[in-house]
Amino acid sequence: MKRYIVILFSVFLIVAVSCSKKSDSAGSSTPLVFTNLNASDSTMAVNGLISFSATASGDGLTYHWTASYGSFVGSGASVKWTVCHADNFTVTCEVKDANGNSASKTRIIRVHE
């Protein structure tokens, strides 16, 4: 019986230490801050190319790019975007960190003939 109590206590101790380490690590993690989404221009001609760069801080960041229309070139914090017809379009960057937090910013681009 004494042996079981010792084993149980040891398991509890290991779990407690590991949890406390996790909370320590969570406490020291960098909070997600999405500072800016820069576009090289806010207008362009059809068949042009605009550069976007996202500035953000945090742990294990991933950059998710979506647009109401058009195509991206590249991936990560900086991409280029083009579209083959005129009108207004949105380009959105959503930044996610390792803890599941996310933040997004959108730019409107006017594309003319």
């Binding site: 991933t62 790019w65 991936s75 009108d87 959108t106």
Partner: protein
């Protein structure tokens, strides 16, 4: 007679597809409205089909334009499966879905003061699925007349656009619209067996709902007229004239100053001539081939238009009714 209807239904399968172009047009080629007429009770129809489309021409209004066009080419390989089942002699249910082996576009955007770069994008995967119910309002086999109405919906297998390395692919190469849609149709069929000619008309309307990015493809209205003639035993020649109208797309992200959501440079009208040939193998399996020839095109703004498109299909009807064996009562052992 059943063979003729099966052949023509297979051909109509292609025709009920909308001829979406890829870049600079909206949506993706949806599966199909499967059979235009109703099926016999307990009859199951299976159709497998393949469609290929290629585009490298831009239109502005109703004329071709070469000015500042970025695209080199655009093409897709698509295959679909459709099932129809006659629940009663007047009511038929249909389901269908398709798969893009590839949906590719390659183009060269220009960057001021630098070299031109090339972009090649390819999407693949399941397109939207479809479910439809059709009801034979007026059916007179003796006079070879059928008038049928139907309604249904299309559903996306996923509402999330396809992406690579967290970067969304262009709408033009997305295999699915990622949004729901509803549709309705009217079908009329009249045959003149004495001269071996048959006339079909098909009217179909589709309404698309906005997707997760608040983008809504335009409504589509399709009107088709078909003439078919048996040319030699087992071979049928069919000529179809099809008008396709697509309204403007809507973008509900609040990006237009006047509060409108309408995208001016979207929507089109197409008039297409489709010669078709159908052949029956051993009276059970049916093979059909068609080729789309655009006769007239009008595009709002500058858009890519299909250069050619062709489709091949195979279909088969199964009779699932349990036929009771005829038994002579007097010969039964007592």
């Amino acid at each position: 007679m059943n063979r003729v209807i099966t052949l023509l239904s297979t051909v109509l399968l292609f025709s009920s597809q909308f001829s979406y172009s890829q870049c600079c047009s909206t949506g993706s080629p949806v599966g199909a409205t499967v059979y235009v007429g109703v099926l016999a009770k307990n009859s199951l129809r299976f159709v497998a089909y393949y469609r290929n489309s290629y585009s490298n021409t831009y239109y502005q209004g109703n004329s071709k334009t070469d000015e500042n066009v970025p695209l080199k080419f655009s093409y897709y390989n698509f295959s679909g499966i459709a099932f129809g089942y006659g629940i009663t002699k007047r009511l038929t249910v249909e389901v269908d879905f398709g798969y893009f082996f590839n949906k590719t576009q390659e183009y060269k955007p220009k960057i001021a003061g630098t070299d031109t770069i090339e972009i090649k994008e390819t999407g693949y995967g399941f397109t939207d699925g479809g479910v439809n119910l059709k009801y034979g309002i007026y059916i007179k086999p003796s006079r070879q007349i059928e008038f049928t109405a139907g309604a249904g919906f299309r559903y996306p297998f996923t509402t999330k656009p396809q992406e690579i390395n967290y970067v969304q692919l262009s709408r033009d190469v997305q295999p699915s619209t990622n949004a729901w849609a509803v549709n309705c149709m009217l079908f009329f069929n009249k045959g003149w067996p004495s001269v071996g000619i048959r006339l079909f008309t098909l009217n179909r309307f589709e309404y698309n709902f906005p997707d997760a990015l608040k983008y809504q493809y335009g409504c589509v209205l399709l009107n088709s007229v078909f003439f078919s003639k048996k040319i030699i035993p087992y071979f049928f020649a069919i000529v179809q004239v099809r008008g396709e109208w697509r309204s403007h797309d809507n973008d509900f992200n609040g990006i237009y100053e006047n509060g409108s959501s309408v995208r001016p440079n979207s929507g089109n009208y197409l008039l297409i001539l489709s010669p078709q040939l159908s052949y029956s193998i051993a009276g059970k399996w049916n093979v059909s081939v068609l080729y789309d020839i655009p006769v007239y095109k009008y595009y709002n703004g500058k858009q890519l238009t299909p250069k050619y498109s062709f489709a091949v299909s195979v279909s088969h009807d199964f009779d699932l009714s349990r036929k009771k064996p005829k038994v002579d009562i007097e010969t039964l052992p007592k």
